[in-house]
Symmetry: C2
Subunit: 346 residues, 2 copies
Amino acid sequence: MRSAPLFGVSSGVNELLQKVLAGQPRAVARLLTLVENSEVEAQTAVSHLYPHTGNAHIIGITGPPGAGKSSLVTALAKTLRRQGFRLGIIAVDPSSPFTGGALLGDRVRMRDLAGDRGVFIRSMASRGSLGGLARATSAAIQVLDAAGYDKILLETVGAGQAEVDVASAAHTTLVIEAPGMGDDVQSIKAGILEIADILVVNKADKPGADHTVKSLEMMLHLGPLGGTRHHGRVLAAPQMVAEKAKDAWQIPVLRTVAITEGGIELLAERVVAHRAHLLATGQWLARERARSEREVERLLQDRLLARLQTAVLPTEREVLLTAVAQRQIDPYTAADQLMALVLKKR
Amino acid sequence: MRSAPLFGVSSGVNELLQKVLAGQPRAVARLLTLVENSEVEAQTAVSHLYPHTGNAHIIGITGPPGAGKSSLVTALAKTLRRQGFRLGIIAVDPSSPFTGGALLGDRVRMRDLAGDRGVFIRSMASRGSLGGLARATSAAIQVLDAAGYDKILLETVGAGQAEVDVASAAHTTLVIEAPGMGDDVQSIKAGILEIADILVVNKADKPGADHTVKSLEMMLHLGPLGGTRHHGRVLAAPQMVAEKAKDAWQIPVLRTVAITEGGIELLAERVVAHRAHLLATGQWLARERARSEREVERLLQDRLLARLQTAVLPTEREVLLTAVAQRQIDPYTAADQLMALVLKKR
């Protein structure tokens, strides 16, 4: 089945897709480059891969700068490799192209993994828009999934809403903290706690680790979920009590020392257990459904803007936007006028 | 002119709008609450205010947690008030509603300003989506602008791409750093340097301030802009050299000690000078044009999703999304099918 010819793509791309489906790393790398450059044919190509996706376990790793995420990803990857899993690693940097250098420096630490054909590593930087990054990341996940990687580690650099949005592509989300980062409430402010399936206090050999673990445990206990998650959403209290016993996941707070691989075996075990939990409770499909919804909505927005660009002359558009800037017309009316050009009458 | 009746809104809202245009703080607060709750009538109402906007100078303030942004905003606000400006302050928190408490704590520091009728303060938290927050923030800016506030200080909590996007609503962007924040390259990683019109090293009485100032100056000098900005975009090198002499803004690196108001007079002077620079060089209109474009694109996306919700039955939508989740159809095809329901044929 995997060797069936594909339609709507050139024979060159068709050959590339066959090689991706056969799991050839160089073909994967080439297709990801096409995807990052947003070439139209690449999108058609990825749509052909879609039926071959859905097997990979996508693991998001996020947390504030300085928590040691890169080291932790490296250590976790080594452990999962020993267990025989094929791994894709995507490092997402929502910062700008000007500043991509810093991230590439971090990647040097992952060189331990570079000789291993069972590991594929890719850094993706923002090209100036979060939407573009989210789209490229989503496509990259699909390519790696179709290429047969069992687990995809999706590391994000920061700890803001942007990272939360990117991490929402994951089945299992690890939030990494470290002791002594000056401000215990940094992660709370960043609003990432409630997306965690597993909390990790890395650098657990440093002073203050106990305090950080206790703070996180207390927050979990006090939080709206009481330390559990249901289908990735907050439930109203009575509903929560009812469902809690049945299929709640107890969010663990784990200690690791990534550079010596301390605590990493247990972390890997909990990661694998979380996938089993999602599958056993039907939450896997619920998360896939939510991912599909976000993906389709993102594509819809892209398509609308693309259609507008072909339906409206650049000069018309320019006149309209200048009129908005000069307060001759309000943006709501301008949007309505543009919509009327491309939308069917109700 | 400001007392003319407005169409398309109820008489209650009409009265509210007249009070907003007359600059009454309680009416402003009520309208902002309507806007945050995304009520349809509120949007129509804001569109009526639009012709009365365009006078306010919008000042974005961003930087990493711990740099002292809230204190700096308070100090800058006091100084600008002494110069007679009416001020709106919007504090934007891209973190979640669960964790809004921390931000509200920060706001306590601004209580010094609370008795002053020439200052209006509002906190806006994310309701789970960045898009929603950007939309509400944009509407709030329009309301405060129409209500006659001269300067609108837009403070964002974090320092990631999300904050960059929010800050893109500003005419003048201040990026705040502080010495000894552990990692000098934190702000570089976060990719916010290139959006700065003015760089501020706050807590400049702390050890390491000289080092932080020098690092920033060196980065400005080495960066693609060589310490200047042109119309908010990066120019190709030859174009840059040609335009540099004519209307380049030299990005200053200023030292402040916000809690004692040290250095704040000079900061206020540079903020006011930047507005004059934008107006003198025609860059003000260019920035207004860019703001209009983002606003119209955001509204277009909202309208498309709203139209889809009325055009597609919830059950049809559910069937389609479940089919995507189960890999029976790919998301690109699903998006095309949904688009065909609402878009005109080419």
